[in-house]
């Protein structure tokens, strides 16, 4: 090991190192681009493969179908991206969505409430769900993982209780339109999803709040010493998670055409896979909002492709697990490679 170091040092001293450094910088640059957009590249590669393997894949109907299917999971994953970026996690996001969907169904079908106020009530409830997570984490300083694992079960149970395990159908046309309708030939959920993704990108990359989330996720103690209120960020992140779950519940219910008891169960796993493969680190401190979108598309395309190639649906469950492992391993490996490179840079830069 010391030999390698001595060589590096002598290279720097003789100037021969300069070329190596440049070459290294270039390869580092390529690495950064590849790693930063790995989800996009995998989506493209997979798309090409599927086009060859199954001509049905490239039809605009199938493609729109894929995107329409991932709208709900993208919305959840956007919330999840904020949680991970801030160094938190939200495992309750899926069942919170399911609970909200059920409440929405109850409101519009059983209480015959008009759609708009019903949606507003559902969003408020979703935010309260997020606030519940945040306040327990903040007040008792309990790890987010444990808290949201518990509330995941609580939200699921609440759903079972109020629904009596009976799904609600007979939803009004206006709600179905939000989940199934088309506008200018493009499904309505896609508009909603793209709008939320754009807003999320701005929030994460162009606002003080987003910067603070990244700072807290990167180094909470240092962020506090720089004048950031960690509590506020904690609350902010979970409010966003709640809101995303609330919006997703509206689309989900509209798309399925009924409020399902088991809606959203297990969807946090899809979110983890999509967000991490999209380039947001599990360790907090960075976020890639568009990466999350591509990550969701990737999960969607894998499922769609397996359907087209008529592979057993049970394999799809396994494929999702493999995808998560793949994403996490890539995350760790690329972080380690980056750390090594930076260390070398700092040594040579002195």
């Amino acid at each position: 090991m010391h030999l390698a170091f001595m060589r590096l040092r002598s290279e720097v001293l003789t100037g021969k190192g300069k070329e190596t450094m440049k070459k290294e910088e270039k390869s580092a640059w390529i690495q950064t681009i590849l790693m930063g957009n790995k989800a996009l590249f995998i989506v493209l590669a997979l798309g090409i493969f599927l086009t060859i393997a199954s001509p049905a894949f490239l039809s605009s109907r199938n493609l729109l179908n894929v995107v329409r299917q991932v709208c709900v999971s993208t919305l959840l994953s956007i919330g999840f991206t904020f949680a991970l970026a801030g160094g938190y996690i939200d495992l309750s996001i899926g069942t919170l969505m399911g609970l909200c969907g059920m409440i929405l169904g109850k409101l519009v079908v059983e209480a015959r409430m008009p759609l708009v106020p019903a949606i507003l009530i559902v969003l408020v409830i979703a935010v309260i769900g997020g606030l519940l997570n945040a306040s327990i984490i903040s007040v008792f300083s309990v790890p987010a993982f444990v808290v949201t694992l518990a509330t995941q079960s609580i939200f699921k149970g609440a759903n079972y209780l109020i629904s009596d395990l009976v799904p609600i159908s007979g939803l009004p046309e206006s709600l179905l339109f939000l989940g199934q309708g088309y506008l200018f030939g493009i499904p309505v959920p896609i508009y909603i999803m793209l709008a939320i993704v754009l807003i999320a990108w701005v929030l994460m990359n162009r606002t003080k709040f987003g910067r603070y989330v990244l700072a807290v996720g990167g180094n909470a103690e240092a962020a506090r010493a720089a004048g950031i209120s960690i509590r506020q960020i904690n609350y902010g992140v979970y409010i966003i998670c709640g809101l995303c779950a609330g919006i997703a519940s509206v689309i989900m219910t509209g798309r399925v055409g009924s409020a399902q008891v088991s809606a959203g169960v297990g969807m946090e796993m899809d979110a983890i896979a999509a967000v991490v493969i999209g380039g947001t680190s599990m360790n907090g401190g960075n976020a890639n909002v568009f990466g999350t979108l591509f990550g969701c598309l990737l999960v969607g395309i894998v499922n769609n492709g397996m359907n087209l190639l008529s592979i057993d649906t049970n394999w799809q469950v396994i494929a999702k697990g493999v995808l998560i492992l793949f994403a996490v391993v890539i995350d760790v490996v690329s972080a380690r490679a980056q750390a090594r490179r930076l260390n070398r840079q700092a040594q040579a830069g002195r």
Binding site: G218, E221, S229, A339, A346
Partner: protein, 502 residues
């Protein structure tokens, strides 16, 4: 007799951009008691951890008993004959003394697959007896005093037939009597040819028990000197804290203005007490003293990182309350914290974002960051401080230690504080960057800023500060203006020698 048992040559160690050990050579002869001394962050523990295989070196060679020795983990070092007694007790509280000593080596008492506890107790009793440690081998460790736990750890080290025993501040928790017992044991071991390394902050102790001393500073080996009566306490202190700064930095005289900041009877129960002082505009006030004396704690409480229990703070005569750093910043205070890794830099962020983060709340419009304002501010301040970076988007951890520290300084300059607290701002950075930072501090004072300057390096305090307080055991024990501050005086008060003289 003069056999060299350990040879460490050209040891290098880097921690993200910080040169923790720079080309350190370290040798030990059989039977010596070596003191390893230096300020915190000087590299003492890092050097020993490399020897034990807890850290891997980035360069250099290690030879133990004539064989290359690159251990992958402490177990390997232990089997080769090196033990370390850490400051934190590493015994298992629920087990008794004998179980702890032979942990992991139960095989030697094995009888048909079961542990022969009787012979284990006998063996333990014999071992403790030979060392003069009076404790029942059957006693649970949880019921022992800290001192006795430490002695049990020592006994464990001896039971491994260790040729080299490293002790990290072994006497910090011991009473005078227990210290004597420890010394007796060490002398006994020395006679048997065991080599001991004492990592210590206690000057007095070094002169009592050690036969030679190695001084480390800023990851550099300063010198190794035999303790044969020729080295004086003052000389040793100077070796620890000082470098020749005569050529390096000349303080420019600054006109001192009105009182900017005042602390009155500022107290945090059990940490520091009745701290009262003022800092005027343009004044650089030093806070000297040992690590753990309470300097950083006072600063952290002023800045709202930690809580305080009583006392009050005033800014320009108006009382202020800093429940958290956020309020402190809004009250016109900035602070460069001591531990850059943990409390300062956000390593997942770019240089630019690290620099602007504390002032970001003044750079927004409807929550949106005003990009041009941020860019301009960063460009200006990074030029002013000559921060070297390739691209502003580069992560701050790709910078050298000195440039990282300049970026953190820049972060606080952007907030335009009236009082700037600097806690060990030059630790772990190279001499060139240090000089730049001294000059910068000087210019800040010239611009009318009040500066609270905490440092363990006395030359730094001597050359930079208009006035200096010495902190000891959580109190301000001494105040002197520039003309009346000398290294000897600061050292005396810091080490508590003035109390002994009384």
């Amino acid at each position: 007799m003069e056999e060299t048992i350990l040879r460490m040559k050209g040891i290098q160690k880097w921690f993200v951009g910080i040169n923790a050990l720079n080309n350190v050579d370290f040798e030990l002869k059989r039977g010596e008691v070596r003191a390893l001394i230096g300020e915190n962050g000087a590299g003492k523990s890092t050097l020993m951890k490399i020897l034990l295989g807890i850290h891997q070196p980035d360069g250099g060679e290690i030879e133990f008993l004539g064989k290359p020795a690159h251990f992958r983990e402490p177990k390997d070092a232990l089997n080769a004959g090196i033990s370390m007694i850490h400051q934190e007790i590493s015994l298992i509280p629920g087990m008794d003394v004998a179980e702890n000593i032979w942990l992991g080596r139960e095989d030697r008492f094995s009888k048909g697959g079961l542990i022969d506890t009787r012979s284990r107790y006998q063996e333990t009793a014999k071992l403790l007896e030979s060392l003069g440690i009076h404790v029942d081998p059957k006693k649970k460790v949880a019921g022992l005093s800290v001192a006795m736990m430490q002695l049990v750890e020592l006994a464990r080290a001896v039971s491994y037939n260790s040729q080299l025993i490293i002790m990290d501040e072994p006497t910090s928790a011991l009473t005078a009597e227990e210290i004597e017992l420890l010394y007796t044991i060490v002398r006994k071991l020395t006679k048997q040819g065991v080599t001991t390394v004492f990592i210590s902050h206690k000057i007095e102790e070094i002169f009592t028990i050690c036969t030679s001393v190695t001084v480390l500073r800023d990851g550099q080996m300063i010198s190794t000197v035999p303790l044969d009566g020729r080295l004086s306490t003052d000389e040793l202190i100077q070796m620890i804290v000082g470098r020749d700064v005569s050529h390096a930095f000349v303080k420019r005289e600054v006109e001192i203005g009105d009182v900017v900041f005042e602390a009155k009877n500022f107290t945090s129960e059990g940490v520091f007490r009745d701290v009262s002082f003022q800092i005027r505009a343009g004044e650089i006030v030093g806070f000297s003293g040992l690590m753990g004396a309470g300097r950083s704690e006072i600063a952290r409480a002023i800045f709202g990182i930690d809580r305080h229990t009583s006392g009050s703070l005033y800014m320009n005569g108006r009382e202020i309350h800093n429940a958290n750093p956020r309020q402190a910043i809004r009250n016109g205070i900035g602070m460069v914290t001591e531990d850059r890794l943990r409390m300062g830099a956000i390593y997942t962020m770019s240089v630019k974002h690290n620099t602007t983060i504390a002032n970001l709340f003044r750079m927004t419009k409807l929550g949106l960051v005003r990009g041009k304002m941020e860019n301009d501010d960063f460009a200006k301040v990074s030029k002013e401080l000559a921060i070297k970076y390739a691209r502003e988007k580069d992560l701050i951890k790709s910078l050298s230690g000195g440039n990282q520290q300049k970026a953190i300084l820049a972060r606080w300059l952007l907030t335009k504080p009236k009082l700037l607290i600097l806690d060990e701002p030059t630790r772990g950075i190279d001499i060139g960057a240090k000089m730049e930072i001294y000059n910068l501090i000087n210019s800040l004072a010239e611009s009318g800023m009040a500066i609270m300057f905490i440092s363990s390096e006395m030359p730094e305090i001597l050359s930079l500060c208009d006035r200096t307080y010495v902190v000891r055991n959580g109190r301000l024990v001494h105040e002197a203006d520039r003309a009346h501050t000398t290294q000897e005086l600061l050292g005396e008060y810091a080490f508590g020698l003035h109390e002994a003289k009384k």
